[in-house]
Amino acid sequence: MAPPLTEQTLSDARARKPAALRNIYDDFAPAVLGYLRSKGCEDPEALTQEVFLTLFSKLDTLKGGLRGARTFAFSVAHARMVDDARRREREPAIAVFDPELDRRATESAEESVLGGGAGVAALLGGLTPQQQEVLLLRVVADLSVDESAKIMGRSAGAVKQLQRRALGELRNQLERKEAPHNERAS
């Protein structure tokens, strides 16, 4: 278990101390990786490392302490995600078929009965990209409304509205999904 980050850790990281850099990486990297993976990036691990290379090169100019560093890390991750999406739009994707990554499979009977197995992608599938972005930044990245608004380039009110609609849509989806199960059980 990595020690909790402090401002001293950030100062040491600015001094290019490897231990401090490693602590920051261990603390931020899982969320960054989860964010990039949830957005469907092609190689989220490589993008994550690019994000941290950029973050460590800009530590001297960062403001806002640890929260500022976290916000900046997800800003870079957001930019990398957008670049990756644009690149995938330009180039045809050449990928080896992996059955585990093929999401076109239908639910099995057991999964339908148990009600589980729905991944994050399926969970966010019915939301708009903006609503997905808000939920990922708020839940996965653990950012505030203002920080999410800064990354998305929107106002805090717009982010709140997107968040409210995203959660409402998510609840409706879950209710619609539960309704057949209840009918089937009855």
Binding site: R37, S38, L53, L123, R138, V139, K160, G168
Partner: protein, 287 residues
């Protein structure tokens, strides 16, 4: 359903739902907790440059982009715009539009021809100032006397008797001097007969017949002689109030002998340089 032992995540999710004003349901909370688990996956092991950086090896981090690119592009853009604007300004269309003005060297000839026209029998206006007014705006193209000069290599002026019958006006219908500024010292027909004749033009370079230059400078450009006689008229100096009158004054038309005229000929307007060429004044273009 997987349980989420982390109470902080559960509290966070519930606070999120309360903030958004969404009614909390167990399914929704579980879904959001599953979303939170995405951030709890282990971090990928660093590789390459990042691994070297985390291990303490000196690694040059991402170099900054060269900002000189913008400067170069901006300079190139400004230069291209400057070249375009300069090219438009230097387009020959502007020069073509500015050329319709007649050339100055034609005007002395036109004035002399205008004076010969009424001599051919046309009606002369009673007002003595009228010829001067008519002669001023004449931009009519007259044939250059240069071909005549080329045909006749002899620069000797044609005798007056040869040209007299053709162009000599009737003394009765002699137009009055267009300007009252200078009294005519000599008889009019004699002067006109000389000015009309284009034959004396011997030098191809000289564009005006002898005596045609009303401006004193128009007659002595090539001449080396110095004017010995009295000032021929008001057209002697171009900067005078009647600098243009030299082209309209029949008497002034005889003055261009000016500087190039031999001694004693300047008063008659038969300006000839010392080398025999018709005089051409230095200020011949100064109109």
């Amino acid at each position: 359903m997987s349980e989420h032992p982390d109470a902080q995540d559960r509290l966070y999710v519930r606070g999120l739902l309360a903030e958004a004003g969404i009614e909390e349901t167990p399914e929704l909370v579980e879904a959001l907790l599953a979303l939170c688990c995405e951030s709890r996956t282990p971090a990928p092991e660093p590789e390459g440059k990042l691994a070297a950086l985390l291990s303490g090896a000196p690694v040059p981090l991402r170099p900054r982009r060269k900002r000189s690119r913008g400067i170069v592009l901006g300079a190139a853009l400004i230069g291209a715009m400057a070249v375009g604007a300069g090219g438009v300004a230097a387009a020959p269309d502007f020069l073509v539009q500015a050329e319709p003005n007649p050339t100055v060297s034609f005007l002395p000839e036109s004035s002399s021809m205008d004076r010969s026209d009424p001599a051919e029998g046309e009606e002369e206006p009673a007002d003595p100032a009228a010829p001067a007014a008519e002669a001023e705006p004449v931009p009519e193209p007259h044939p250059e006397p240069e071909p005549v000069a080329e045909a006749g290599p002899d620069p000797v002026p044609v005798p007056e008797a040869e040209t007299g019958p053709q162009t000599q006006p009737d003394p009765d219908h002699e137009p009055a001097p267009p300007t009252d500024l200078e009294p005519a010292p000599e008889p009019e027909p004699e002067t006109e007969a000389i000015t009309v004749a284009p034959a004396p033009v011997a030098k191809p370079g000289s564009r005006m017949p002898p005596g045609a230059g009303a401006d004193p400078g128009a007659g002595g450009g090539k001449g080396r002689g110095i004017v010995q006689g009295p000032p021929p008229g008001p057209g002697l100096h171009d900067d005078g109030p009647h600098a243009d009158d030299g082209t309209q004054n029949p008497k002034g038309a005889g003055m261009p002998g000016g500087r190039g005229a031999p001694h004693g000929d300047s008063s008659r307007g038969k300006g000839w340089g010392a080398d025999g060429a018709p005089g051409r004044g230095l200020s011949g273009r100064d109109r």
